[in-house]
Amino acid sequence: MNMSNIISTEQLTAHINEVADSILAPALNTSSIEVNNVTVSFKTPKGVYTAVKEISLTVQKGEIISLIGHSGCGKSTLMGTISGMVKPSAGEVYANGKKVTSPGPDRGIVFQNYSLLPWLTVYKNIYEAVDSVLADKPAAEKRELVENNLKMVNLWEHKDKLPGQLSGGMKQRVAIARAFSINPAILLLDEPFGALDALTKSSMHVELLKLWNLDNRDKTIVMVTHDIEEAIFLSDRVVVMNNGPAATIKEIVEVPLPRPRNKKDIVHSPEYMLIHDKLLNLLIDKFSIEDMV
């Protein structure tokens, strides 16, 4: 009998605990994103520039949160650490239980400038992303993913058009479809509607929530925005940042308004008005010419 095959009771218990933990962990761990004491600094010709300093934030699975603040307050930088496009100078970020070191298929990104490749059709733009992230899947499955997501954003008829032939709103819908099609657990939107007119923006909010609902509100969404109304309408929590440099979190405002939210009705809700006022006070200090004394 081979003696090395016999393990001790301690080793056996430890092994069983490990297995049990790994089975239970997904159920117990509901935090989707953990930002631990993150600082981001850049070397510039004029010295070291600290964009964000010692920021900690936890986002639960299925939450929608907005990062809001003045221009240059580091919100895009902070989101960059979650997406993996920016490396923290100190601290770490965990997403879906894993440490973030680079962009990955579990986090979909929508950029402010759509960033569609102008020489590829709408269809190909999404297909290449799917092909790159889900390389091992069969081609038929990839094609199905592209088709489903394009249909979800009502752009299937435009699948052979080039981005240059689309309006801003349509381009952003393609970008969103692209992010959704790799089925990430986390969706990161960097001022996705900033370049759109107010009317298009408004319908895009509803579109985004529709897509989120279609997925059983499973996806965690982090959005950077300047727009207070947008932040309140979409989010469960609004993270207000201080002005940069070395920006930190000023306050996190809860938005416990019930879903589904209605654009027309919500503005009459007293709770909405309280939250709106609170955010205005946090972000703006001059409300009329009388404040400019």
Binding site: S83, M85, P103, G104, P105, I109, F111, N113, S115, L116, L117, P118, W119, L120, E128, A129, D131, S132, V133, L162, P163, G164, Q165, R178, I182
Partner: protein
């Protein structure tokens, strides 16, 4: 739609005719003031018809103008082709890597100002063969515009596009084929267009040195060996028209590959 098309083309034709009439007028004046040393447009037209007679006749003692033209074009084609095969990858490398750029760029800047004709004797020494030396000369001169423009294009790929590759984990191959090359292509075509222009100019000068049966040698024969000035003018017109057509090809390519963002 058809109406707009014919009015637009009508105007472009009118502008073209106006331009030709202008230069024709100046030409007539020059012919008049040089007492027909420089032949008038009408006299040149007679010679033109004579030259264009049997353009593709290929006898040992008489080669038609078409044969000469094709001979020049062939040499340009080979030199330009080889030059492009070397210049495009080199430009892409230079644009993508700071290190390669810093090493190769000084060499480019050093060799670029050298007159094409100076490369001919070098080619002769290497290949011991006139036609090959001509091609060598074209090859060297066709490199520079393509290398420089390609390098510029490859180094100025928009960050927005690079971010797509980063965000969606594009492999190196996918990055090169779906982001770098399409983004750089308009610049490559610009470079090629400039290179073909240079190559076409150089072949005419080069053939004067190398002999052979091309258009350049034709000009040399008529011009420097006491032939007909009218024939020189005919050659100039043909060279100009061919150059224009070559340029138009690349302009068409440029339009085909430019994208609205």
């Amino acid at each position: 739609m058809k109406n707009i098309f014919s009015i637009k083309t009508l105007w472009s034709v009118l502008y073209f005719v106006a331009g030709m009439a202008l230069i024709g007028g100046i030409w007539e004046l020059i012919a008049h003031f040089t007492k027909n040393e420089i032949p008038s447009p009408r006299a040149t037209w007679v010679v033109f018809k004579e030259v264009m007679h049997n353009p593709f006749q290929n006898d040992p003692d008489y080669k038609g103008i078409g044969v000469k033209l094709l001979s020049s074009l062939a040499r340009v084609g080979i030199g330009f082709g080889l030059g492009s095969i070397v210049a495009i990858p080199l430009g892409l490398l230079m644009g993508s890597s700071r290190i390669v750029m810093n090493i190769i760029n000084p060499i480019v800047q050093l060799l670029r100002p050298v007159s094409p004709l100076a490369w001919f004797p070098l080619g002769l020494a290497i290949f011991q063969d006139s036609p090959k030396a001509s091609i060598f000369m074209i090859f060297i001169c066709a490199l520079w515009p393509t290398v420089i423009n390609t390098a510029f294009g490859a180094s100025s790929i928009s960050n927005d596009h690079k971010n797509v590759g980063k965000a969606y984990g594009f492999s190196t191959w996918k990055y090169i084929t779906k982001i770098m090359l399409p983004s750089t292509l308009p610049h490559i075509i610009t470079g090629l267009r400039l290179s073909i222009g240079v190559a076409w100019m150089v072949i005419v000068a080069g053939e004067m040195l190398s002999g052979g049966i091309g258009l350049g040698y034709f000009v040399w024969e008529e011009g420097f060996n006491g032939g007909s000035v009218a024939k020189i003018l005919v050659a100039i017109i043909i060279i100009g028209v061919v150059g224009l057509l070559l340029d138009k090809c690349f302009t068409w390519l440029q339009k085909k590959f430019s994208y609205a963002v």
